[in-house]
Structures are given as structure tokens and as C-alpha cells.
Symmetry: C2
Subunit: 292 residues, 2 copies
């Protein structure tokens, strides 16, 4: 394993421990509600949001224990968004991370409630954090706003509104990418900065919005070039449904060139931050490499 | 108008002003997201949760301005729960307050997002309140937990799980009523107490759980005896679908006797609180009277 892989695995393990502990203590009725929450939380995934948050905590010299509950809340919010997004009336995806989507296992009604439950529980965790001081309140509110109607939900709504458009407008595409995907990724990176009274706030904001954009761009390229085995969800669906993606607008090759440009910008922004940014640079390549 | 009606109208006006101001300032894209949020918020209703919160603020000598944002957040949460509850995969209701349900107007995908958006916005409002001090954090967390997987969502989940049961179990029925309905009503009453460092906390908790139970009980009786005009939603649906209600378990007459007993208990509990509880007593009769 490379140094990057070792570090990634360490962050991931730290987060998985926190998640495991949360799931073990989770106590709610009826049984199907509990099962449906845990099912989606344990579907796995790369945990890129928690890993990013932990690595920024390290970079800024913050005790990682201070951000573990924020990472947990953010992963709950991310998981809720996937459950609702997979619903038949939304993106209608039967698979997620190689396993049946929540609504395929528990039914659509229960999946709606599982999503609601995860979102609500995320904020219950964050309200508890608020007792630790004003920075903790600021960070909680920041995450909430990134997930909200001027953040992720706006992006999902725009995505849904434009799914049958013939022509793709670059501004709308940017709006969808930046909100649907980049906002939560950005929140993971910025939370440690807010807890450190805004240290490198604007650099991290610029970096993380680009990184989130890059992530969605590579995701769309993978929808064309990936396989079910390495992506874990239905492939070729975007194209088949004529979805609003960069690949449809720019074509495959130009999309890859754009990915390179954005990755370069991310690296440059990291160079403006003092401290050991090695892991984060490798992280950018790791996202970029998904499409090599 | 009776004294009760005048006071009720005054509380309602105060809340509607706050809501109107919120809607006017609401700024989000795309347009359909904004419209769908405002559509459901402005469908009206009796605003019983905000009215209860304001009246308890008065009773405890709390400045009503201190609770208006809590009342707003709670009404947003209540409204989200109605939108998701009306979805075809949940309760499948085409009407709400005499008008087409959110998903009938905007489609199911947008209705899922409108609900998500209202829930998320409610917490954004509450995180801002948290800066006002620890009692404000406690009250916010309390509301969040009443709405959550050990509160309202648990009740909705149990309701959904048991909708096709042949036999009704009294314990499960109580669980559904207390969680699905009573938790948010209880949160409205208890918020002012938490802001007053727990004044009459246990009396108000007992009172409000009973009141919430009474509200759901009268709702189910109205489903049998009411009309579309005075209820604003489809009538006779519970019976037609064999839903889990007190009427199905006890029959109509015994359900009314039970409603009387609970109303009496509410009145008694109010007598243990010093101050002018006249409005709240009338409020209990107002709920009870819906089925006279």
C-alpha cells in the first residue's frame, strides 16, 4: 500500500468505528425503521466526505475527535440524499454500491421515512455539538445550509427540473454540479476551518468547490466508461435517459480535459496552504484517476 | 366572537405575519422549489402548534418574540410531514386543506424535495436560534428529537407497518397516536417551558401528550363523521382502507367517551399550573368540540 492508501485506510477506520458505535447504540421502533437506516449507512462506499473532514482537521492541527460527530452527521445527510435520490419518482435507481437500493428492499414508503429519519438524526447529533460553543453552532449551521434549499436540495431540484431538456445550458449544468454534489463535499472540508475560527477559509472553500465539481464530472464520465463492478450502480443510465451531464454537453474527451484543468486548479489552491498537504494532493489525483 | 376566538385570532395573526415575512424573504432556485415550499406553507390550516406555543409563552410570562422562530420552524416541520405523508407510497392523499396535495400540483419527485427542503430549513432557523444561549439549544434539540426517529417518524413508520393488519393492538395504536401526532404538539407546548428553564415542565408534558392524543382521536372520528367541507381532506378513507384507528378498535361511541375522559384529564392538569389558563382550557374544548 502507498502512503496515501495507508492514511486513507486510517481515516476510514476511524470513521467506521464512530459509525459502528452509532449503529450499535441506535435504538428506535419499529424494527423496519431501524433496519432501513442501518442498511443504507452500512452499504459502505469510500466515505470521501468523512475522510476529507478528518484530513482537513489534521492539516489545521485540530483534534480529530472534535470533528467525528460532524463527519457522522454529514455522512447521514449524504446517505439520506442517496435514498431519496434513488426513489422511483426521482432518479429511479435500483442499485447503490452494488446492492439493491433502500426502496427495493424496504418499499418506497419506508425509504422516504428512512431518508427523513437520517436527515433528522444528523441534526439531532449537531444540536448536541452546539453546546460546545459558538464555532460548533456556526459549523452546524454551515452544514445545514450546504444541505438545504440553497445548497444540495436546490441542485437536486434543478436536476429534476431539467432532466428532459433537449439542449444543455452550461450555467444550469454548473448550478447542478456545484449544488447537488459540491456543497456537501465543501461542507466536509470547511467544517474544520470553521472550528479553527476560519483558518484558510477562502482557500479551502475554493478548493472544495472545485473538488466537488471534479467528483461529479468524473462520476458522469464513469457512467459512460465504468462498469457495474467498479461503480456499484447501473451504468449508461444517464445517457439512456438523456440526463443533464457534462458528457452530453462537452463530449467525453473535452470532459476529461476539463477534469484535468480543475484537478490542476485544486492542486494549485493547496499550495497556498501551509502545512502537510501531501495527502490532499494525492486525494485530488485519486478522484481524477477514477477515469484514467 | 368569544374571548377565546379573539385571542386565537390574535395568536394566529402574529404567526401568519412571521410566516408571511419568511415567505417574502425566501430566496431559492429553481422557481418550482420555491413555489412548492410556499404552496404548502400557505395552504393554511388552524396553526394549532404555533397558537399553542404562543399561548404557553404568554402563560409562562415569556416574550412572545422569543418563540416566533421556534413556532415557524415547528410549522415547517409539520408541513414537511404532511407533504411526505400525502405521497402515493405513504398515505396517498390527493387533498389537503381542501386543495390538491403538493405532489398533485408539483409531481411526486418535487414533493419529496419540498418536504426535505422544509425539514432542512426548519433546522437552519433553529441553528440560528442556538446562538442565543443554552436554553435555545436545548429547545431546538427537543423539537428535533420530537420530530425524529424516536418521535414523529417512529409513529409514521409504525402507522405504515401496520396499515394492513386485521386486528388492532391497543399498545400499537397508542404508540402511533403518541408519536405520529402528539410529539410535535407536545414540542409546541414544551418549548416555552424549556426557554424558561423548565418551568412546569412535567405538567406541560403530561398535558400536551394527552392533548396530542385527543387531537388524533378526534381526527379519526372526523374521518367517519366529518364532511370534506369542514375537514378539507378525503373523508371515510381510513375506514375504506381498514386503517389503524381508535374508531376501528373501540367503535365510534366508545371513542367519543375516551375523548371526553382525555379532555377532562387535560383540564385537570391545567389546574395544577398557576396563572391564566383560561385560553388553554378553552383550547381543549375547541379540540373536543370538533366531534360534537
Amino acid at each position: 500500500m502507498s502512503g496515501f492508501d495507508v492514511k486513507y485506510a486510517e481515516y476510514q477506520r476511524l470513521f467506521e468505528e464512530r459509525l459502528e458505535n452509532f449503529c450499535n447504540k441506535l435504538n428506535c421502533q419499529p424494527q423496519i425503521l431501524k433496519e432501513s437506516l442501518i442498511y443504507s449507512l452500512k452499504l459502505g462506499g469510500k466515505r470521501i466526505r468523512p475522510v476529507l473532514m478528518l484530513s482537513f482537521a489534521d492539516l489545521l492541527g485540530l483534534d480529530k475527535n472534535n470533528v467525528l460527530n460532524f463527519a457522522l452527521a454529514l455522512e447521514l445527510i449524504h446517505t439520506y440524499s442517496l435514498i431519496h435520490d434513488d426513489l422511483p419518482e426521482m432518479d429511479n435507481d435500483d442499485f447503490r454500491r452494488g446492492k439493491p437500493s433502500n426502496h427495493k428492499v424496504f418499499g418506497t414508503g419506508n425509504a422516504v421515512l428512512a431518508g427523513d429519519g437520517l436527515l433528522n438524526t444528523a441534526y439531532s447529533i449537531l444540536f448536541t455539538e452546539c453546546f460546545n460553543g459558538d464555532e460548533f453552532i456556526s459549523a452546524s449551521k454551515y452544514i445545514c445550509d450546504c444541505a438545504g434549499i440553497n445548497g444540495m436540495i436546490a441542485g437536486q431540484s434543478a436536476d429534476l427540473s431539467h432532466e428532459n431538456d433537449e439542449e444543455i445550458d452550461e450555467n444550469i449544468l454548473d448550478f447542478i454540479y456545484l449544488n447537488k454534489t459540491a456543497q456537501l463535499i465543501s461542507a466536509s472540508c470547511i467544517t474544520p476551518s470553521i472550528l479553527c475560527k476560519g483558518k484558510y477559509y477562502s482557500e479551502i472553500k475554493t478548493f472544495s468547490r472545485d473538488l466537488g465539481f471534479l467528483f461529479q464530472l468524473t462520476d458522469d464520465i464513469l457512467d459512460v466508461e465504468g462498469s457495474f463492478e467498479n461503480v456499484g450502480k447501473s451504468i449508461g443510465k444517464d445517457v439512456a435517459e438523456g440526463k443533464y451531464t457534462a458528457v452530453k454537453l462537452y463530449g467525453l474527451e473535452k470532459s476529461k480535459v476539463r477534469a484535468d484543468l480543475i484537478a490542476d486548479r485544486c492542486i494549485k489552491m493547496l499550495e497556498g496552504i501551509k502545512g502537510d498537504t501531501g495527502f490532499l494532493k494525492e486525494f485530488v489525483y485519486f478522484i481524477r484517476q477514477r477515469i484514467l
